[in-house]
């Protein structure tokens, strides 16, 4: 075979060309400047349902869908004015038309070539119907997932919102009942029953509020903007000032970067982690260190305490909504804090985990993508 480069156009012998085209793993069509088909390989016959005889000498237009035929001649003329190797119709969905009139999704590469003193374009055609089908299926699954996710969010929100109404009535009236009649009309047992009811409805109110908070991470989240994590942590510490002062906790704050985030939500994350660090304190007075370091394209944040820690086998469970490791009597709370943290961090494109052991304190880690425009600098 004889390849000779000349102003971007390849020259080779006709026989060599025929062999190359026939052996190619995709459909190959050689077309002259007037748009007449000069050569096809057997894959083209299979793809379009024509025999070689039916194609050679015909206009290439018979393989082009009717709707794009008028434009096709223009494109061809332009190609011959400036012949270079390129993909056809980049960014557009391309179709060929089979003999039976059906459309075939294709990808087409164009190569200019010269043989026997004449210029041609050699089009290499790949049938992408299976890829298209897979893409369409994937898209459909994605939409389905998005829909079911949205439905769930909406469901949680509506549930928690609308459940509050009747619960408020139950709660208020049992309290009114207790206030007016306990110790008077009711005996001790009845008073106890009432107390259980009042407690349970207050607890349910707490759970509903938490569920609402949890679902609001998605439904009421703000747009992510560039924020300084230092001021985020300072706000969280200000909100926790009373608790921090009460237990005499020492807070060590390292250098923190700027990230793209939802300010109130990130304050919430630090607030939950720091308040947990204080709440689950050991006999020593609490020391909480907050730090951050680079890790590839992410910032790795650490909130470490010297508290009671816990068995690492619960490391996953602590991030699940309403899961608690201690009884409500020992440590109050509904088990929402870390679940909210996880949801917020995941909304920001990061992940959160814990390293801990009983009596050894706990270190909560989470990642946040670096700011691209800042080249990852703080």
């Amino acid at each position: 075979m004889n390849f000779e480069g000349h102003s971007g156009i390849h020259k080779l012998t006709e026989e060599g060309l025929r062999l190359v085209i026939e052996a190619a793993p995709s459909g190959m069509i050689m077309v002259d400047q007037r748009g007449k088909i000069a050569l096809v390989n057997s894959l083209v016959e299979q793809l379009f349902g024509y025999t070689r005889k039916e194609l050679v000498g015909q206009s290439i237009d018979i393989l082009v869908p009717n709707s794009v035929r008028p434009k096709h001649a223009e494109h061809r003329a332009e190609f011959f004015k400036n012949p270079n190797t390129r993909a056809m119709g980049s960014g557009r969905d391309l179709y060929g038309q089979r003999k039976d009139g059906t459309k075939l999704p294709v990808e087409i590469g164009l190569n200019p070539l010269e043989t026997g003193g004449e210029r041609f374009v050699l089009a290499s055609i790949v049938d992408i119907s299976e890829r298209r089908l897979a893409e369409a299926l994937l898209q459909e699954k994605l939409l389905e997932l998005q829909r079911s996710n949205d439905d769930l969010q909406q469901f949680a929100y509506v549930c928690s919102h609308d459940l509050q109404e009747p619960l408020r009535v139950i709660s208020n009236y049992t309290q009114l009942l207790a206030k007016r009649y306990s110790g008077k009309v009711l005996d001790e047992t009845a008073d106890e029953f009432l107390e259980f009811t009042v407690d349970a409805s207050k607890r349910m109110q707490g759970l509903i509020n938490d569920l609402l908070t949890y679902s609001r991470v998605q439904t009421k989240g703000q747009e992510l903007t560039e924020i300084d994590c230092k001021s985020v942590v300072e706000d969280a510490l200000a909100n926790l000032k009373v608790a921090i002062d009460e237990c005499g906790a020492k807070i060590d704050l390292g250098t923190l970067p700027r990230v793209k985030g939802d300010n109130p939500q990130l304050i919430q994350v630090f607030q939950n982690l720091i308040s947990n660090a204080i709440k689950f304190k050991s006999d020593q007075s609490p020391v909480v260190s907050i730090d951050c370091k680079e890790e590839g394209n992410y910032w790795l944040f650490e909130v470490r305490d010297n508290g009671i820690g816990f068995d690492l086998k619960y490391a996953e469970r602590v991030f699940v909504i309403f899961q608690r490791l201690h009884s409500r009597e020992v440590f109050p709370g509904s088990g929402i804090g870390l679940a909210v943290c996880k949801k917020i961090i995941e909304r920001h494109g990061g992940r959160i985990w814990v390293e801990t052991a009983p009596g050894k304190g706990a270190a909560f880690y989470f990642t946040m993508p670096k700011l691209r425009s800042y080249g990852g600098e703080s």
Partner: protein
């Protein structure tokens, strides 16, 4: 003139309306309260139409937001657009916690916005402060 203050309570929930009355009773709040159950009825009351021809003009309106037919937001907008009625102070008492509702209510000239509490003690506190502020100290137009 020493007549009692007239308060119009616009509340669709019978349980909530009753609770307010009960808590007021517990606290011996000396106010005449009329209750209507939706926004349309509230407007009839204020315009003295459809059976409300003989009622007296309320000194104060306590208004729920989420109600059937005409809701509290519409009632508030309509009465604040009415030259004769706009001077009546309106207290919003609702379950809604949404910032939108809070902002919108004040823009529509609500005098204050209170969220219905879960806890009876807090409810009592609200009624108590209403009593001490609105019913004991505040002066209203159209009262001599």
């Amino acid at each position: 003139m020493n007549r009692k203050l007239q308060m119009l309570l616009v509340e669709d929930s019978e349980a909530d309306a009753r609770l307010i009355l009960e808590v007021m009773k517990d606290q011996n709040v000396a106010v005449d309260i009329s209750v209507v159950r939706d926004g349309e009825e509230a407007m009839s009351y204020l315009y003295k139409q459809n059976g409300y021809e003989k009622v007296s003009r309320p000194d104060l309106i306590v208004l729920d937001l989420n109600m059937p037919k005409k809701d509290g937001r519409e009632v508030l907008a309509e009465l604040k657009a009415n030259l004769d009625l706009r001077s009546i102070p309106v207290l919003i008492l609702t379950t809604s916690n949404s910032d939108e509702d809070i902002v919108k209510s004040y823009k529509l000239q609500a005098s204050c916005y209170v969220t219905k509490p879960m806890d009876l003690d807090k409810f009592s506190d609200i009624v108590k402060s209403m009593d001490q502020f609105w019913f004991a100290n505040v002066r209203f137009p159209h009262r001599r």
